[in-house]
Amino acid sequence: MDTGLTPKAKLAANALVARRGGRTVVDVPELSVARGEVLAVVGPNGAGKTTLLLQLALLERPDGGEVSFEGARTRGRELRLRRRMAVVFQEPLLLDRPVLANVEAGLAMRGVGRAERRKRALRWLGRFGVEQLAWRSSRTLSGGEAQRVSLARAFALEPEVLLLDEPFSALDTPTRAAITDDLAAVLVETRTTTVLVTHDHDEAARLGDRVAVMIGGRIRQLGAPAEVFGAPADEDVAAFVGIETIVPADVIAREDELVVLRAHGHDIEAVGAGTFHRALVCLRPEDVSVAAAGDRATDSSVRNRLPGRVARVVRTGADARVEVDCGFRVVARITRRSLDELGIEAGAEVVVTFKATAAHLIPK
């Protein structure tokens, strides 16, 4: 596993442990964030992401191990180092005073003079498109406005390290998209070293230079977004990153990179290197198609055609999720248009198809 441990690490966790009532909620042997890097930490609820972030932000003392800042060990909640960081939480958590005073508050704590405070606050409010709210009371803002102010408040501190804890998860989709756009632009421009905790894959893939998948308090995979989402390291990571078909299979033949596996009497062709004999075949629902039972292959790159019976159809927005029983469960995501055209419904005989390259193998 790539731990990302480099000499240029801005922030690092060494043997970091957090316990809650006898339960270990964070257990991270090593994790580092390089200067200027955006590290996205994803994971299901209760994975320990927020606790890890609070420890990295020096807001919570570790129960074991330590956090180092620019290679130097930190001792507890050092004010001097906390003042070089900024944190944005899921809730905007604005103070009951005008917006401008909110953005200035952290600067005032650092003894920044009034004129400079105001200049910086207005600049960053402007950068997040909420300059016109400067004199408004923080209590009168909408959720999206408040979170923009919260981001401006963090950036106004010109932090060396920025820690974001699910900053957009309480917002509606269009608002979230707009703020994510603005944040992405600011991050590219400032190259602020950032740790972003989120459970949103798209957010992680979009903003993160690297993605760490945290499950049960441990970092289970760390790598580039394409790697983590395309080639999950284990079954739990696969399930978390949205792979809905995971089936154990035996390798029965190999030809160069092409591997033929057998699962429940079906032969599956996949691409994978290595000398393993058993593997988990992982398929993302959007990589699986469903065709009528008698349909002939038209695309020769589709190597896998498995007959089965539709077990369940769930219509969601513009898409539909189709579960097919092929001896094991295969989940496909198809458009509602093709669902209607093919007349797919529960009990129908169909063929599921997918490319050899779509199947990701996790050696067992």
Partner: protein
Amino acid sequence: MDLVWEGLREAVDLLVHNKHGVYEIAWRSVYVSGLATAIALVLGVGAGAVLAFKRFPGRVVALALVNTGMGLPPVVVGLVIAILLWRSGPLGELHWIYTPRAMIIAQAIIATPVITGFTAASLASLNPHLRLQVYALGASRLQMLWILLQEVRLPLLAAIMAGFGAAISEVGASVMVGGNIAGQTRVLTGAVLLEQSKGRFGEALALGIILLTMMVVVNVLFTWVQLGIHRDAGAAHEPEGGGRPLQPWTRG
């Protein structure tokens, strides 16, 4: 009804001619209770913050004691202070019995639980994540407390009003430890008590009216400040008058 009219007439007469040194008595009331409230504010805000934020063994007992203390019987406080300050008592060496100092101590003890209780309740009602956010903004412990106290400034003002009200309106403790000595330790409540015991209802009522008027004036002032704060935080803020000097620690 005659008695009330007589009282009002007497009150005007007292004020106009400064009979019985009424101005001095009124001033002593404000001075003693004001100082007691100031001491109670420092102690109460500190204790309230500890009760709201720290988890320690005996915290629940402490909270229950504070809640009891919010209705502390002044005569019991007076008795305990009197025993402590009595010439032969453990603190008799100080020679504070029958001085305004003794009264300030007694009234501070009466007002402290009131302010502690209000402070603890209002700080505890804040979003717990707000503390984390304030720390994350780079606050020291003192800056954190200062910011959070500003967040609860309205209930805090109510606490000060309640504390001052409890101090200036009590009579038992002040008379027991102050002695109700004319020109030295007589305050308005003690004066009312004395005039009433002499059967001079008119003068007693007049002093009572003066006491009530003073309390109304003080509370109107505080309420006015409270509403001002409310408006400040709630409405548009002019750019020029914008930066309120709310941060005494800005220099660092």
